[in-house]
């Protein structure tokens, strides 16, 4: 992930001012309401969430074993497995595969992990045309934008913007009617699906026991991507494992309900190996790329629990901060509360994302896995603030324990006090003080230290 040039505050300001966050707010509230209604219709939700949590934590605590089983099972049904330590290795594997098959055009169903490794860029660099087929991702690709929500990538765009985009890029008559925009995309992508050389998907969940991968989509692009082309490549974060089919069932019972309020996503697609000789259709080759890319460090650290996330997006929809600023303000691929934990943990930076939260706990309330996001945000905050704090305390000790340095410091602050003039406030300080004065003023030190004042006014009388 090479984005995130400025910090959260730097991105959030413009996001609020340009009004785009309004569309996000409306969409997120609607999704949150749909979730609530679905759970009212499903009395077993709480019990199923307990099960889902237990299965995810159990799997992570034995992840090496389950990954080993999964890889063996995939190979047994005729699939290929590649273990990628990082984004570069994953991209290299897929580009080499594309070259070997002389792939001219690849189709993709929505996948956040391929966003994370920037696979499209790698394929385009070797002249493979990559077409995103999820309607939202297709719009994002046409607009040269980035997704702003885990499951609703264009939550930040209005239908008018999309209408103008289609008219300009697809050479069709302008319409802002969603049904007609839908049909334009269907017509445009149909031929592309049927003539593509390679299909690339993510993996929602993988079943260790059978070597199956499960991909859920509402639009059906996931099915076409994994059926029409000769080669199917599935890229998965290494944490997306469940032990068996029963475990997969539990996850699926909570996933769509938490995401969009549907009992199940329209297409729950379970793929176990490439097509067999007697089968009429399906891909002739299946490649599964299992990606680490920082996940093993997350697993070893304070934020390990976040790896149990199943990417439903419920924490985004409910989050007052996400609703106000939209997904792009988070900088990384994964936005909202889950992104505030995952991005700093994966990249090992002490960015300000863990502070992008009110700690209200709504994310934990709605999470189907009951992930304690606020606890991890606090841990990451502590981690982020420890480093600079330790440095400044050490510097302070160095000054305070040496009388000559102390007096020098007092003289320097006296100068600062006189420079600040009558206002008594410093509005722009150099060096480490800048972090404070960027957002508020600093009271100026007194021109004369108390020590000196005592000496001048009282010292003589008291004989000290």
């Amino acid at each position: 992930m090479s984005r995130a040039p400025v910090n959260f505050l730097g991105r959030a300001g413009p996001a609020i001012r340009d009004g785009k966050a309004n569309a996000t707010n409306v969409g997120a509230r609607l999704l949150a309401d749909l979730r609530t209604a679905a759970i009212d219709r499903y009395p077993a939700m709480d019990e199923t969430r307990d099960k889902a949590r237990a299965i995810r934590l159990h799997t992570l605590a034995n992840l090496d074993t389950y990954l080993d089983h999964f890889a063996t099972a995939v190979q047994e049904v005729g699939g290929e497995v590649f273990f990628a330590a990082d984004a570069a290795e994953a991209c290299e594997y897929v580009t080499a595969l594309a070259t070997r098959h002389e792939v001219k055009r690849a189709i993709k169903s929505k996948s956040m992990v391929t966003e994370e490794i920037e696979l499209n860029r790698a394929l385009e660099a070797i002249d493979v045309e990559v077409v995103e087929t999820d309607l939202g991702e297709f719009i994002i690709q046409l607009a040269e934008d980035t997704p702003s929500h885990l499951i609703a990538p264009v939550l930040h765009k209005t239908r008018f913007e999309i209408g103008e985009l289609f008219a300009a890029k697809l050479d069709v008559e302008y319409t802002d009617e969603p049904t007609r925009l839908n049909d334009v995309a269907r017509e445009h992508l149909r031929g592309i699906f049927l003539a593509a050389d390679m299909g690339i998907s993510g993996v929602n969940l993988a079943v260790a026991e059978s070597g199956s991968i499960c991909i859920v989509t509402n639009e059906g692009n996931g099915r076409l991507t994994t059926t029409a082309p000769k080669v199917h490549v599935a890229v998965m974060g290494m944490e997306r494992i469940v032990p068996d089919l029963a475990g997969l069932g539990v996850m699926l019972e909570v996933l769509a309900r938490s995401a969009t309020g549907q009992p199940l996503t329209v297409y729950t697609n379970i793929v176990t190996g490439p097509r067999r000789t007697e089968e009429p259709d399906g891909p002739d080759e299946l490649h599964v790329v299992i990606l680490d890319n920082g996940r093993s460090s997350v697993l070893a650290g304070e934020a390990a629990e976040i790896l149990s996330c199943i990417r439903c997006g419920a924490c985004l929809n409910i989050c007052p901060v996400y609703r106000a600023v939209g997904g792009h303000a988070y900088g990384g691929v994964y936005g909202g509360p889950v992104g505030s934990v995952l991005t700093p943990a994966m990249l090992d930076t002490n960015e300000d994302l863990p502070f992008a939260s009110t700690l209200c706990g709504a994310c934990r309330e709605v999470c189907p896995i009951r992930i304690d996001i606020p606890r991890m945000l606090l841990a990451l905050r502590a981690e982020a603030s420890e480093k600079p704090l330790a440095r400044s305390l050490k510097a302070y000790a160095g000054v305070a324990t040496h009388p000559s340095r102390w007096r020098a410091m007092l003289r320097a602050s006296g100068v600062a006090g006189r420079v600040a003039g009558k206002s008594g406030w410093i509005s722009s300080a150099p060096g480490p003080g800048k972090g404070w004065t960027d957002h508020r003023d600093l009271p100026a030190p007194a021109p004369k230290s108390f020590h000196r004042w005592w000496k001048e006014n009282r010292g003589a009388k008291d004989g000290t």
């Binding site: 090496d64 059906g220 068996d244 089919l245 029963a246 793929v271 089968e279 460090s297 697993l299």
Partner: protein, 222 residues
């Protein structure tokens, strides 16, 4: 990266991981059934709730009903599972003797042949399949791939007609998996279809038939 090295790194991470403890009592046992009486009624209600259409019929009436659907949508061709794979006999034959063209669902293995073959899928309007199961709670149908069962029949046409035996309706996906724990081993593709293809990507407004079928008719044969 080598598999052993990768897995070793994961094993080391697991050992030092401060993961919260797993509550083992929740690991075993089924997901609770919410409603198990009146499965057929519930199934019909839920199919409609996800924008599908359910029909209850008999083996004798099924062929005529499906032909009627084909005429409603002005379908002139059909991509179908083989006659022997459909749970109700005579439906496909009835369509073909009444003027619908059969689109071959057997895709050649070579790349050129594959692409040429799939050209024909552009214009196919009707997909006809069976189903291994119906799921009452979600209004879904479960389809598995295999010989004589092209996956594309339920993926590419604008109309999907599913034939389902009334006896194969389960309470939920979890219940179906519990009854068929080897379902994913035996078939390369298991697809659970819950209503027509849809999206809410544009201003969260629901639109149907994005890439898959816009109309899903579940014909329950008693």
């Amino acid at each position: 990266m080598e598999r052993e090295a990768f897995l070793h790194k994961v094993a080391v991470a697991v050992k030092g991981s401060p993961l919260p403890p797993c509550d083992e009592q929740h690991l075993s046992g089924l997901v609770p059934e919410t409603q198990s009486d009146e499965l057929v009624e519930l199934f019909v209600e839920r199919v409609e709730a996800v924008n599908g259409t359910a029909h209850l019929t008999s083996p004798e009436l099924a062929p005529g009903l499906v032909l009627g659907l084909a005429r409603t949508y002005e379908a002139s061709s059909v991509l179908s599972w083989d006659e022997g794979e459909l749970p109700s006999t005579g439906v496909l034959r009835h369509l073909l003797t009444n003027g619908l063209t059969w689109v071959d669902g057997h895709v050649p293995a070579d790349q050129v042949g594959r692409l040429e073959h799939q050209e024909a899928y552009h214009s196919v309007q009707l997909g006809l399949t069976g189903a291994d199961a119906g799921l009452a709670e979600s209004g879904s149908v479960v389809l598995s791939s295999g010989p004589g069962r092209p996956r594309m029949a339920s993926a590419i046409p604008i109309v999907h007609v599913v034939l389902l035996r009334v006896g194969s309706i389960y309470a939920s996906l979890s219940q179906y998996f519990a009854a068929h724990p080897r379902a994913a081993f035996d078939r390369t593709n298991l697809i659970v279809v819950t209503g027509p293809s849809r999206t809410g990507d544009i201003e969260s407004k629901l639109t149907l038939g994005v890439h898959g079928p816009k109309h899903v008719h579940v014909v329950i044969v008693d």
